[in-house]
Symmetry: C2
């Protein structure tokens, strides 16, 4: 058993952990580890938006996604990426490639190289009938945490990290998410500033840049039932998934009132757009504490939590995990190109507000 906070990220605490040193979790969980040389990761979410039911746009969207994936193969491309899709409530289908870099400088070189830069900056992106978006978040290693109910083939950011931990101490209680994040040793991680429209006009459907604020929080909470046997598949699809979906629909539709800027319950797909038996929720929150409040008090989430507690020790092939980060205002970039005005972080961004 070891702390979720890696040795080289430990520091004298000014804020205490929620539980005492003798706390023992009720079942084992693990986190991803990286060598001390890892200082900051880049998580890039690259999206394509097309009108639902429009076959031509759908095909074009898939081509665009393939183009984005092709650019990943260039020098300085990401160490790992996932493909997903989701339908939004404004009548659009969205596909996304989510990519992870372990070197912000490499990401910057990749993004600034002509083929990538020119494609995203091209006026064609405004006029080819599709919407496009980029959401880039670059948390430092002390600003994100992971949690896995398994030890092999870590997904998401775990795929670009170096190894898996021993069983960790900080899980199985409310507040453990915060306790796993190294920055929480000395910082409340409070939101500072406002989500704001930095450039463009969301209603005009042109090119819009949204500015994030300090300690904006992102959670990726994933499920993988590809290898699950009949029993676990039934457990997941009949017991966990409907409750999960209800909770995710609540956050998508009513999240604004409780600090959830955007919530996308996405399904993994292959390069042909076909669904794969993996999914995750991608939720942007104003702050970690607002995410905590929802997680620990909303009926749908508590129901998921109770089910997970019940089955955690008997899981075989069903893979449940999450990654959570907070991030500085300067380490976020959100750009929407010809997207509908409720897309992503545009919905809740204030026009005329200042990020800091």
């Amino acid at each position: 058993m070891e702390s979720a906070i890696d040795t080289h990220l430990k520091c004298p605490r000014s804020l205490s952990r929620r539980v005492a040193a003798d706390y023992v979790p009720p079942f084992p969980m693990w986190v991803a580890r990286a060598d001390p040389s890892l200082k900051q990761v880049v998580m890039g979410h690259f999206g394509v938006q097309s009108k639902s039911g429009d076959g031509l746009a759908n095909a074009a969207s898939l081509d665009a996604l393939r183009h984005i994936v092709a650019t990943f193969q260039a020098t300085d491309g990401p160490g790992h990426f996932d493909l997903v899709d989701y339908a939004d409530t404004d009548g659009y289908d969205n596909r996304m490639a989510i990519a992870y870099w372990t070197d912000p400088a490499a990401f910057a070189r990749w993004q600034d190289a002509a083929p990538v830069r020119d494609w995203w900056q091209s006026d064609a992106r405004l006029s080819d009938g599709l919407g496009y978006f980029r959401e880039i978040l670059a948390p430092r290693v002390d600003q994100f945490e992971t949690l896995y109910a398994f030890r092999d083939a870590l997904p998401g950011v775990g795929a670009v990290m170096d190894r898996v931990s021993d069983e960790i101490e900080e899980h199985g209680y409310w507040g453990s998410m915060r306790d796993r994040m190294a920055a929480s040793q000395t910082d409340w991680l409070a939101a500072k500033g406002e989500l704001c429209v930095v450039a463009g006009d969301p209603q005009a459907r042109g090119r819009v840049v949204i500015g994030g604020h300090d300690n904006l929080c992102l959670i990726r909470s994933g499920q993988d039932w590809e290898e699950a046997g009949a029993e676990e598949r039934t457990l997941y699809l009949e017991e966990i998934e409907p409750t999960l979906r209800a909770g995710m629909d609540f956050l998508r539709d009513q999240g604004a009132s409780i600090g959830c800027y955007s919530n996308r319950y996405v399904r993994h797909i292959d390069l042909d757009g076909r669904p794969v038996d993996q999914s995750f929720d991608l939720g942007h929150w104003r702050s970690l504490d607002l995410l905590e409040r929802w997680a620990e008090s909303h009926p749908t989430h508590l129901r998921i939590f109770v089910t997970f507690f019940r089955v955690a020790t008997s899981l075989e092939k069903l893979r449940l995990y999450h990654e959570v980060l907070v991030v500085d205002a300067a380490d976020q970039y959100y750009e929407y190109i010809h997207c509908h005005p409720n897309s992503g972080l545009m919905r809740d961004a204030r026009i005329g507000a200042d990020a800091n």
Copy 2:
């Protein structure tokens, strides 16, 4: 809005609160306040046990309860008391008088006065066919906290305190119970020592004294639907109570494995033994953190919590409250006289263990 920790009990923290200074609870709750002159309270639980279905024993039990209540009227008697009953799973009915003193010296004088002392020490208590028990806990003011969803006629320990607070900050999140307790500012409140048989043999049904240990934790969590209108009565009796009962039954029957030494879901009664529309759970735990773990992860408690969150702002006459304490080994006294061996804290006490 003010802190649940009264001004004169504030001290520089070595342990942080779970939530930041800008936390705002989702609905109002209040705590009991006392003048700084209050240093320690005494909570005395005086019980009578009779075989279920034995009419004569039942009548004798009621007489004994009345006798105990009569002794409360003597000099130095308690400032407040409640009468309750509960059936245990060993085939016995139990009646209890729960009394509160604000002055440990007055309690000591009361207990040592001949009429009280002699009655409890009399050999007649061992041979009149009934069981008797005394469970006395005397927490200092920094070792207990209260929480009320209402502001008038505070029950339990609140009845001997001086007034009600303004709306308090520390509630509506897991960990707030601990955060309301002044001692938690600098102390993890960890259990130290073992629950042990100090004198006598529980199996022999004689006179048994159980020794508590440091930071043993007691919760009284109450419900009062006496004045509730039809709608709130239905809410309580049909939605809250069955779930509450399931949770309390779990703790009563399976609590030993998770650190719950004793759990009694009791109904208020009058001096004739007739039920009143008030109840509470009285739970003894090895420690506050074990109580926290159960409360925040057990399905039945989460269901109660969710229901309470949903209705909290619309409660009119339904009165929900709790009081929670931790207590030094030296400030506890548990005596069982001719009770069955699973009574109260006897069940989990180790023979030959040392309290410290």
